[in-house]
């Protein structure tokens, strides 16, 4: 297992470390590995998979995403904006008698209010997702990891980040990952 050369293991002083990465062969393996890491109480780590694995959130002990809140908020904003827009333009600022219909009622502009709601909610969700995922981020240490390329194809990867209190020095992380049955463990430099 521990067959990597020392120069890998010894972090040079001037460069910062992002974390330690290792690969797994199959979905099942990485799934169980994740559960173990979770149980070990790690916080700053992540699992990289070509597709969302069913149940992985639980396996990693991730909380439910809070994007729905954003969506709801944005939706309400949209509805209110729609109301204000139609009321101000057609009833308050320049009321005109149109087909003897009321200057403003919630009925006639309802399609507009409806669409505003959906539009705003959608924007909320879309941008919420990117913001919560800290995207766009075009430069990332992982992109320099050779085997990371395969993650978007069929590789499965776990990365323990240096910022986690359990990390200590890389060797500990190495051993831990090794004990999980991780393959070609590498140091990810930042």
């Amino acid at each position: 297992m521990n067959d990597h050369s020392p120069q890998d293991t010894q972090p040079r002083r001037e460069e910062r470390v992002f974390g330690v990465a290792c690969s797994f062969r199959s979905v099942a393996e990485i799934f169980h590995a994740a559960e173990r890491i979770r149980d070990a109480g790690w916080k700053k780590w992540d699992v990289y998979t070509p597709f969302p694995i069913h149940g992985m959130d639980a396996a990693m002990g991730l909380p439910r995403s809070s994007i729905p809140r954003v969506t709801l908020l944005a939706g309400i904003t949209g509805f209110v904006t729609g109301c204000l827009l139609t009321w101000y333009t057609n009833s308050f600022d320049y009321p005109l008698i149109v087909g003897a219909k009321p200057y403003w009622s919630v009925i006639y502009p309802f399609p507009v209010l409806y669409e505003c709601t959906i539009l705003f909610a959608a924007f909320g969700t879309f941008f919420g997702q990117f913001i919560f995922n800290r995207l766009p981020r075009h430069h990332h240490p992982l992109f320099d990891v050779p085997q990371f390329i395969r993650v978007s194809d069929d590789a499965f990867m776990v990365v323990l980040e240096v910022t986690d209190p359990h990390f200590g020095n890389p060797d500990k992380a190495y051993d831990f990952l090794a004990s999980l049955g991780g393959q070609d463990i590498t140091l990810v430099r930042d």
Binding site: R36, D39, P50, E115, T125, Q129, R137, V151
Partner: protein, 469 residues
């Protein structure tokens, strides 16, 4: 840690013993393909050198699209009179085409959103293309309401922009609702489509070898890293967008149908329109999906990812919606007769037997009769036949919009001002050009963007199950 590993090995042993019952579940990807196979398959389409057929098709599409834009240029410079419109038929092909294209668009959203909500896994292999189809169809649709107005350069008056005249749009008008509905629909569909594509773009990015590909796909992929913490938010957001698109898609065609239902023209002023338009939209949409996917499947040998199971499902939906549409036709007649309103009665009888009877019967044949063949398995499995029937359905749905729009206007309240509408060559060119326009966009899509959602397909094959072997 050791303890943990023991436990997991224990699990493995138990699982090894377990023999789960073999549920006869049609597999979504045949021949037990691997993750990598899927990646190769999809990315290959984008990475292979541009095939000749693509270049030919693309050139042809461009030429065809030129008709639309030539026609529109002439229209704007000369006036709406270059179309066949007249009093009392104020709306002709333009609005027909608009409704037609919007209807096409709906299947995409439906497949991606509603089926997603219903956890219909089989959608995965077709939803990307279907969504693309939605967006491009809406592009084509959008041209018509914009350009059919007499003074298109004042189109911005339809948006609530503060101006020195202190006058605003009029929100009681269904056309104003359309402005909001269609623009919202376009925006949301695009967001949904793009967001779903980000992980696949990341895949292509990672495989990219040349500079421009790297730059292009890196930019689009937004630095996606496939981390599960991202997947977590991503899936939630995707689900929410699906949840938003579903009422949206229904509302959009409802509002489109309001253009007619809210007016007081006999034959338009009908409460059945919203559901019936939505059904019609799904109907035509699925037909168009098949019209596009069957050739693609053949060209790119996607028989493993788009298999008979998908085609069966879609043809069945077409059969169902087609029957609904047929039922709606019947209901219209019944209600008209039942209403005892002479104008309504006349409007429908005139539709079926009046000067536009030919259009009406084309519509009935294509929309109600032709899909009935899908009752038969043999037909569903004969893909050439499926494709032809889908063409019929597309034609039929266009005629449905034509019948609704034109016949009602041509003979309404005052017999003194009855008229007959027939299109001019400009009408015809402008419409057929839009197929070119659509093809241009779609060809660009299949050339440069992932045609199938790799991540999603991977997630539905057996290997993706953490508890399987």
């Amino acid at each position: 840690m050791a303890h943990a590993s023991e436990e997991s090995t224990a699990n493995r042993e138990i699982l090894a013993k377990v023999r789960p019952a073999e549920l006869p579940r049609p597999s979504l990807v045949l021949n037990g393909r691997s993750f990598h196979w899927i990646t190769e398959k999809v990315c290959g389409i984008v990475e292979e050198p541009t095939p000749l057929w693509w270049k030919v098709m693309f050139t042809m599409a461009l030429c065809l699209a030129a008709f639309t834009f030539g026609g529109l240029a002439y229209l704007v410079s000369t006036g709406t009179g270059v179309w066949g419109l007249r009093s009392p038929i104020g709306w002709g092909w333009a609005i027909v085409n608009f409704v037609f294209w919007v209807g096409i668009g709906h299947a995409g959203t439906l497949i991606s959103a509603i089926l997603c909500l219903l956890r219909q896994k089989w959608r995965t292999s077709i939803n990307r293309a279907a969504e693309a189809m939605t967006i491009f169809a809406v592009c084509c649709a959008g041209l018509f309401p914009l350009f059919h107005v007499g003074r298109v350069w004042f189109g911005w008056w339809l948006f609530p922009i503060p101006n020195q005249n202190g006058i605003w749009p009029q929100f009681r008008s269904p056309l104003e609702w359309d402005v909001f509905a269609v623009s919202t629909y376009f925006t949301v569909s695009t967001l949904f489509w793009y967001m779903g594509m980000v992980p696949d773009l990341a895949t292509i990015r990672d495989r990219a070898r040349t500079w421009w590909r790297k730059a292009f796909y890196s930019f689009l992929a937004m630095g996606w890293r496939n981390g599960n913490r991202q997947w977590c938010n991503f899936e939630m957001a995707y689900l929410l967008l699906a949840g938003l698109s579903t009422p949206l898609v229904l509302s959009v065609h409802t509002i489109v149908s309001f253009d007619f239902a809210v007016s007081n023209v006999p034959g338009w002023h009908t409460t059945i329109f919203p559901p019936y338009f939505v059904a019609g939209a799904i109907f035509s949409g699925f037909a168009m999906v098949l019209t596009l996917m069957l050739p693609l499947r053949a060209i790119y040998r996607l028989h493993d990812t788009i298999n008979q199971y998908h085609i069966d499902n879609m043809t069945k939906i077409i059969l169902a919606t087609g029957s609904m549409v047929g039922y709606a036709y019947a209901t219209e007649f019944f209600i008209a007769a039942y209403s005892g309103n002479p104008f309504e009665k006349f409007a429908f009888i005139n539709r079926a037997f009046g000067q536009y009877a030919w259009a009406y019967w084309i519509m009935v044949t294509c929309n109600v009769i032709s899909p009935q063949f899908f009752w038969f398995k043999a037909v569903r499995e004969n893909h050439a036949l499926v494709w032809i029937i889908c063409l019929f359905v597309n034609v039929g749905m266009w005629f449905e919009r034509f019948v609704i729009t034109v016949t009602s206007l041509a003979n309404d309240y005052l017999p003194s001002s009855w008229g007959y509408y027939s299109p001019t060559i400009v009408d015809i060119f402008t419409f057929f050009g839009t197929f070119g326009f659509f093809s241009v966009l779609f060809l660009l899509f299949i050339r440069f963007l992932p045609l199938l959602p790799m991540a999603e397909i991977k997630s539905v094959i057996p290997q993706a199950d953490p508890h399987a072997h």
